[in-house]
Amino acid sequence: MNHDAYDDNYIRSILNNVKSIAMVGASPVNVRPSYFAFKYLAQRGYDMIPVNPGHVGKALMGKPFVASLADIDRPIDMIDIFRNSSHIMPVVEEALKLSPLPKVIWMQLGARDDAAAEKAEAAGLKVVMNRCPKIEYGRLSSEISWMGVNSRTLSSKRAPIPTQGMRLSLNRTSFGGGQTAASDRAAKNKTETT
């Protein structure tokens, strides 16, 4: 798996197939990116579970916080990790102890841990790093185009009118996958400077 540039089909199949998402590092503070993403994914019909030991006893959009992945009472399809790169490994190790195993480990925008990714992939999980599921969902459904973002997709079908709780089709024709000359260059610049 090339973690610098994902094919749209890879991201699309993940977002089309997962139903429950545990968000590690979810914040109840309404200006944090995790709060935005949690709320959006819940509105698009995913079964969201906020995980954060600092907020047990509170709820996010009516969903009670749990302290750890082990405290979740139902199988989870995807773990979305809203932590810095240095805090990824312990979360992945905890995830790999779950039964049944989750299907996907997703690390947020800015987060990347190649060793943790390798470990999860060795156990048969799919891994996405340094991406936001809200942005990817918005891009593949073209909902994000309302903000001038290049969805890198085309469609000659009538657009849906998104309403509360509605799942959108992510099956538009993609071009260029996650790869643009610019994204390759950005990834390269990053490794050169760090």
Partner: protein, 426 residues
């Protein structure tokens, strides 16, 4: 199903557009409305807090404009774009995200005269300083870098002389200095040059020119390449610091590789106000659908006219990068192999007066201050667009007194050549 990269012409027609959700209208509707109703109070709060995708008020975003934005972002290979009222507004909004009073920008000396004015006078009044460098001498950019430098600004094909800039060489200077490279791609359009492929971090356009292409609508656009790390050394607090206008959101952390386009929208356009009319967005979108056809014809005609002028007895010199002997011919073959654009200058043996006479004798060419129209245009820069510069600066920016600038249209080239011939003889 594997992802297939559509060609430029397909993107020019389709990118960003989709049949209208409510009516099925196939052409992009003109959403001529100032504002958009909210579903409920929570939806309104989510939109204002940047938590949800959607429309609020046309100064911040509009569905017609959004189609234009995605289309140009796709054509340039960027992550996102923001359309604004004019090319000048695009430059203002870009620099507002990057510069504080006392900061500096390094700009190529060969720029559109209006941009030289904007940087020298209007921006100086904001405390934004400009250091000029010569695109024909890359070291002059390196020498101009100081601890206050926040960006480098160049034109891909420079107005007025149609000279071609070595984008990759200047991108290397920008990368070394840790600042973004901004490229004004107005005269090339993405059909001829895609600056992001050569290292640009931000592309700006005057949509007024070849992209709109019909001389009927002003517009500008900012394209985010998604390549620059704005948070690296806190040099760009608009993107890296918590924003008080949005309860402490950090723009780059929240929006990732299209953070710059979002900053331009929610911090720049929202507060400075130069919004593009949805009607103009519609006109420009319609123009873009034929960009590849028009641009090729513009270039082919321009080359024929330049060849004609280069052998004319009244003409002392022609600056057209598409001519084999031209100083910029090697750069043109590298950066713009499909054509050298349609804006160029030539010099008359008869000097300033011959320039003024030529302009008044032409019958098909229109004498006006614009470029990138379907119609062929002519201007004498020394007495018009560049008249505010002193003589030395006129020469340095390619607008000496004997120089005439042409913007070649998409008419039949034989008619353009005949018109120039009669006017030069008259």
């Amino acid at each position: 199903m594997t992802d297939r990269l559509p060609g430029f012409s397909t993107l020019a027609v389709h990118a960003g557009a989709q049949p209208d959700p409510t009516t099925g209208a196939r052409a992009t509707p003109i959403y001529q409305t100032t504002s958009f109703v909210f579903n409920d109070a929570d939806h309104a709060a989510s939109l204002f807090g940047l938590q949800a995708f959607g429309n609020i008020y046309t100064r911040i975003g509009n569905p017609t404009n959004a189609v234009l934005e995605e289309r140009v972002a796709a054509l340039e290979g960027g992550t996102a774009a923001l359309a604004v009222a004019s090319g000048h507004a695009a430059q203002l909004v870009v620099l507002q995200q990057l510069l504080k009073p006392g900061d500096e920008i390094i700009a190529a000396r060969k720029l559109y005269g209006g941009s030289i004015n904007q940087f020298t006078h209007a921006f100086k009044a904001f405390g934004w300083n400009v250091a000029w460098a010569d695109p024909d001498e890359i070291e002059s950019f390196e020498r101009a870098v100081t601890p206050h430098t926040k960006a480098i600004f160049i034109e891909s094909i420079a107005n007025p002389a149609g000279s071609i800039t070595d984008i990759e060489a200047i991108a290397a200077v920008a990368r070394k200095a840790g600042v973004p490279l901004i490229v004004d791609n107005t005269l090339a359009s993405p059909y001829l040059i895609k600056p992001i492929d050569h290292g640009a971090d931000i592309v700006v356009h005057s949509l007024t020119k070849f992209l709109g292409g019909h001389g009927n609508s002003l517009g500008g656009i900012i394209v985010d390449a998604g390549t620059f790390d704005w948070s690296k050394d806190n040099k760009y607090p608009m993107l890296s610091e918590p924003r008080p206008e949005y309860h402490g959101i950090r723009i780059q952390e929240t929006f990732g590789n299209f953070a710059f386009a979002i900053a331009c929208r929610v911090l720049g356009l929202r507060d400075l106000g130069p919004a593009l009319s949805p009607f103009n967005a519609f006109m420009i979108l319609t123009g873009i659908e034929t960009l590849p056809l028009r641009m090729q014809k513009h270039c082919d005609n321009a080359k024929a006219v330049a060849e004609f002028l280069s052998t004319h007895p009244a003409v002392s010199a022609v600056n057209y990068a598409g001519l084999p002997g031209d100083k910029y011919n090697a750069l043109q073959r590298k950066y713009a192999p499909k054509g050298a654009g349609a804006v160029f200058t030539f010099s008359l043996k008869g000097g300033y007066d011959a320039g003024v006479n030529l302009v008044s004798n032409l019958k098909l060419f229109s004498h006006l201050a614009n470029v990138g129209d379907t119609r062929s245009l002519v201007i004498h820069p020394a007495s018009t667009t560049h008249s505010q510069l002193d003589d030395a600066a006129k020469v340095k920016s390619g607008a000496a007194p004997e120089v005439v600038r042409l913007s070649i249209g998409i008419e039949d080239k034989e008619d353009l050549i005949a018109d120039l011939d009669q006017a030069l003889r008259a």
